[in-house]
Amino acid sequence: MDMMRKERIDRGIKVRTEGIYAISSYREILYLMGPRLLLIVGVLVLPLFLELAPYWKRVINIMFVYSLLALAFDFLANYVGLVCLGGAFFVGVGGYFTAIFNVYLHLPIYLSIPLATILGAIFCTITVLPCLPLRGVYFAIVTLMYPLLATRVIEALNILGGTNGITGVDSFPHEYAEQYIVIIVMLLFLFGMRRFVNQDIGLVIRGVKDNDQAVKASGISITYMKTLAVFIASFMCCFGGAYIAHLYMWAGLSLFALDFSIIPIASVVIGGGGTLVGAVIGSFILVPLSEFLRFFGTFRIVIYCAALTAFIVLKSEGLMVYLQRKYHQFERWVKV
């Protein structure tokens, strides 16, 4: 009996669209822009559809925040080589910073969010700085401690509202403002990051992941590159935290909850690490799923875990890697 093997070949249209000739026909332009437009238009019209299901509005807002966190995790883990389990720390810092600006200093919302994002990111970067020489699992464990530490410090010193948190944070002026700000920021970061990792500076950062010794030998400080990467990632997360604080009109200890560290990682696993867009798609699946399973009460954790496990076992490469392969290549059986 003949042995058969599956062979994968690039579609003709994929090869044709790689060069400048991509702009020679509508079909090729559509091939390139189709998936991107689908995502952009899809998320932009989503709030309009949600008029039919108002309950889901808040879930969808949180979903976009999670996709930002997943984007940050994917960038740090798969492009810089820093597995950061401290996403919740960045979220909490962003949330508390915006609450301080808004409630204590009476800054309006359109100043408090940007300020909290930038200053929060600087604060996060400085605090993470001491563990940047760590690699691999050691960096992961130490960053996992950061949100726990922050919670204990706020509790013990009874500062920033202690266990009650800071209440009275301004809400968004309009429902559409609330929804579109996070959608637009998410899209900007998604396409911005995709561009960034292919710029020259992005390539240097990816070099740190592949071989940090060689980057040093090229006269570049890897501490500087890692610091820059952590700043970018915490920038995204701090925006997410500031947004949530204004959404809930409250900044409290639950902003440091483990969910903000773990769900983004699960999203990246489901979506496919290293694709960036996969992280976003992953959270589009996980967050609504987890909300939908609320119906099952505490049993939902079991279903959630089973779904995750099934995904990891059956499609360990990630959804996005699988879809991209199907889109760009066809398969056929050939004799060995």
């Binding site: 020259d200 500076i201 390539l203 240097v204 990816r206 070099g207 992941k209 592949d210 071989n211 010794q213 060689a214 980057v215 040093k216 030998a217 090229s218 006269g219 570049i220 400080s221 890897i222």
Partner: protein
Amino acid sequence: MGKGMNDNIIISVKGISKSFGGLKALIDVSFEVRAGEIYGIIGPNGSGKTTLINCITGFIRPNAGHVSFRGHDITNMPPHKIAHMGIARTFQIMRPYYSLPAFKNLIVPLWSPRARKTGGWRGGGKHGDRDTVAVDILEEIGFERDSRVPYKLASTLPTGYQKRLELARCIALRPEIIFCDEVFSGLSMSEIASMLPLIEKLKMDGITLIMVEHRLRELFRVADRVMALNFGEKIAEGVYSEVIEDKRVKEAYLGSEEV
């Protein structure tokens, strides 16, 4: 060596010692290299050749001793600052940036502060871009420009090309000195034969080369002077005919005659 030659000394290593726990990897090693020469470092396995390079380029801190480059003390400086001064190195174990195409591997050194300071990343033109310069350097070092080789993923390149890529990464930095850590090991005779003109071309360009080698014959074809290490100690130094006839060098490689 005449006294007038001292002005020409580009790097001087004085009394470097390094021990890992009880193991003495380097014991009081000193040598000087003149600008523009090819200096070979030989020695059997475990004699401390790579440790010596690591100490000079800042990847390991020596326990004692000093390294000076053009009169500046560079002992204990971090590796990226040493590289910034113009001291490049290859690694014995080749590790290209696997996830990048071969020519994109050179973006890292071309982006470095040194390349930007010297303007080396622009190549000849005033408004060059790094990709073009990278492909130019790869062509210079033996990647055929019109083939797809420079654009292939670095992880898929054959060993010979990966070795060249290591060297290309150094050249992109426009260094004054290149430390080559066993660039010939693992290559076939024909691959080595095609590397040798490259080494000579680097010398013509005025780059000082310090080559750590296992393969004596290839090294002796290019090296001006050679130093031999054994168990972390310098046992001989001089032109190749002297060193190869040295009794201690023969013993180190072949074992002593008395049992």
